[in-house]
Amino acid sequence: MSISVSHINKSYKDIRALQDVSFEVKKGEIFGLIGPDGAGKTTLFRILATLLIADSGQASVAGHDVVKDYKTIRNCVGYMPGKFSLYQDLTVEENLEFFATIFKTTIKENYHLIEDIYKQIEPFKTRRAGKLSGGMKQKLALCCALIHKPEVLFLDEPTTGVDPVSRKEFWDMLKRLQQKGITILVSTPYMDEASLCDRIAFIQDGKILEIDSPEAIVKHFTKTIYNLSANNMYKLIESLKTYEHAHSVYPFGEFVHYTDTRDVFDIDELQHYLKNIGLNDITIEIAKPTIEDTFMALAK
């Protein structure tokens, strides 16, 4: 096991940031932590990166205990915090060089690891890191976290605030790194990124709700889900919420996702109900449950 977490608890004063968190990550796996802001993702990362000590429970990274062997772990992991944490007044190249030096290596030695990513920011290598765009900053941060060839990579919300194109590129890179045998623990608030992981864990309010592969996790969703739309979205949601058989109602892109409490139910009946309220252009169709639907159902 590359990462193993068992029964971790951590509190800040009255807030229980993590409650009995347990999971394992296999070597060479991309493991995603999916959850909203404040779910405890960053706390978990910090515990694994030996920056915080858990109140109780054990954790090990690359076979080393995060408390006892913290020095060993600090030599063999790459950590990219959620906040951009490079030197803004140093250039791209100087940043990379600095991190290579403090990890007792050189850019040359591990260039093959970062080549794909670094090639994209290399034209700007004399630019100060503070003047880079969001996506480029993240790519540079990833390069810096990778330069010493870590066994395990911790990426805390690496794509937050990054444009969709850069996000896609970023994930392509992670896939390539995975092929080089690096274990990756990544957190994200974006549900669409969850499907790119080998396995994901839903986390909310410090608790792990479910752990499975993205394909399997949607199977936890047993209800039939309906895509609804009408001329007045706000009114549609309000009306659905007051509908006596409503199980769950939430906006989903340009639609509203709806589940019913009954196993068998008549679409016409619902359509009729909505029409009576005064809504027009009503469409109702069955939708495939997504990871987000699963999360919403579990988080309820």
Binding site: T50, L52, S85, E94, T101, F103
Partner: protein, 368 residues
């Protein structure tokens, strides 16, 4: 070692690319030393003095006339007895009393010498010193005149006496004082800010998760500032030598050694502050309030320690700047060797070791 050098290189980039701190580093010492230097070397003008003439003869009259004729002094009282001296000072107007001994002229003619006492109010030591020098100059020019064409010279011996601050504790005091203040400010404040900046920007988080050891991080922060502070100290000494013509009596090597020691003390304090403060702002406030004020007020830089209340005198002992000022004064003004200041040096060294040990111990290997 390579690791450590890489860290130092990064620190130099930070310092050299931040114009604001660069200005603080090099601009301020020069501005301050010039400002203080010119503000303190004050000319005297129309200073009130009192005369106590026990003799009332031709020579004393002549001297008194010369004094009152000069633009520096105006005589505001003639007193009759010793007891009046104190009361005349206590009124506050009079800054000096000139007292001629009984039978002044007779002594001068018979014995070839006579004595005059210059008693100054040394609560303002710089003025007191200037006054006594000026009075002395007037008297000596009188002597010259008396001695014209005579083989056996007459002598008037001035006895200078300072009241209220007899040791005249801050003549040329501003150079050691300013040097101490600047070194403290630059070293302590700049290091504490540079470390807390890493905390604030989150880079500390990344550095922690690296093979860098606490000692390497601390040393990496300190070394560049030692270099810069040494440059600063050199600039200050050169300025005082060439702009203010302040003589340095003692050994320059000893001075350099003691200065580096104090720089390290200040840096250690800076690191200690950064272990407490979470933001650059707090670090700056703690440096200013916790270091600058005591350094200026309690170190003997501006206010003589001997005239402080006992409690403050005791507190002043824990202020490193106090010991450094004693050392600087001893080397620069008195020109003494190491054997005279080993005790102060040892105290400073002890404090430094203590601060460094404490900051390494308090250096967090994790986040809170």
């Amino acid at each position: 070692m390579k690791l450590f050098l890489g860290f130092i290189k990064k620190e130099f980039y930070h310092i050299l690319r931040d114009r604001r701190s660069l200005f603080i580093l090099f601009g301020m010492p020069i501005v301050q030393i010039l400002l203080f230097g010119f503000a303190i070397t004050n000319e005297i003008n129309n200073v009130n003095i009192a005369i106590l003439d026990h003799s009332k003869d031709v020579t004393t009259k002549k001297i008194i006339d010369n004094i009152s004729a000069s633009k520096y002094f105006s005589i505001n009282a003639f007193i009759q007895q010793e007891n009046d001296i104190e009361s005349v000072f206590k009124k506050g107007q009079t800054k000096a009393v000139i007292s001629f001994e009984k039978d002044f002229n007779q002594h001068l003619i018979k014995n070839g010498q006579a004595t005059v006492q210059i008693i100054t109010d040394a609560t303002d030591p710089n003025t007191a010193n200037t006054i006594s020098n000026y009075v002395n100059a007037i008297i000596q020019s009188q002597v010259k005149e008396l001695n014209k064409g005579i083989d056996k010279g007459y002598q008037i011996i001035p006895q200078t006496r300072m009241v209220y601050n007899p040791e005249l504790k801050s003549v040329f005091m501003f150079v050691p004082g300013i040097m101490t203040v600047i070194l403290m400010l630059v070293s302590a404040m700049m290091t504490s800010i540079s470390i807390t900046r890493e905390k604030e920007l989150g880079t500390m988080e990344v550095i922690l998760v690296s093979p860098l050891k606490p000692l390497q991080v601390i040393a990496g922060k300190v070394v560049p500032y030692i270099a810069l502070s040494v440059i600063n100290a050199t600039v200050i000494i050169l300025l005082s030598l060439f702009v203010f013509k302040m003589p340095i009596q003692g050994s320059l090597i000893l001075l350099a050694f003691e200065t580096v020691l104090f720089i390290v003390t200040a840096l250690a304090l800076g690191i200690l502050i950064s272990t407490i403060a979470a933001t650059q702002q707090t670090a700056m406030m703690i440096s200013l309030m916790g270091l600058m004020l005591p350094v200026i007020i309690l170190s003997g830089f501006i206010f003589p320690i001997s005239s402080m209340p006992l409690v403050l005198q005791i507190i002043s002992n824990i202020i490193p700047a106090k010991w450094f000022i004693i050392i600087l004064k001893a080397i620069m003004l008195k020109g003494v060797g190491f054997s005279f200041i080993w005790k102060e040096t040892l105290i400073l060294l002890g404090m430094t070791v203590f601060f460094i040990a404490l900051s390494i111990k308090k250096y967090k290997i994790r986040l809170e």
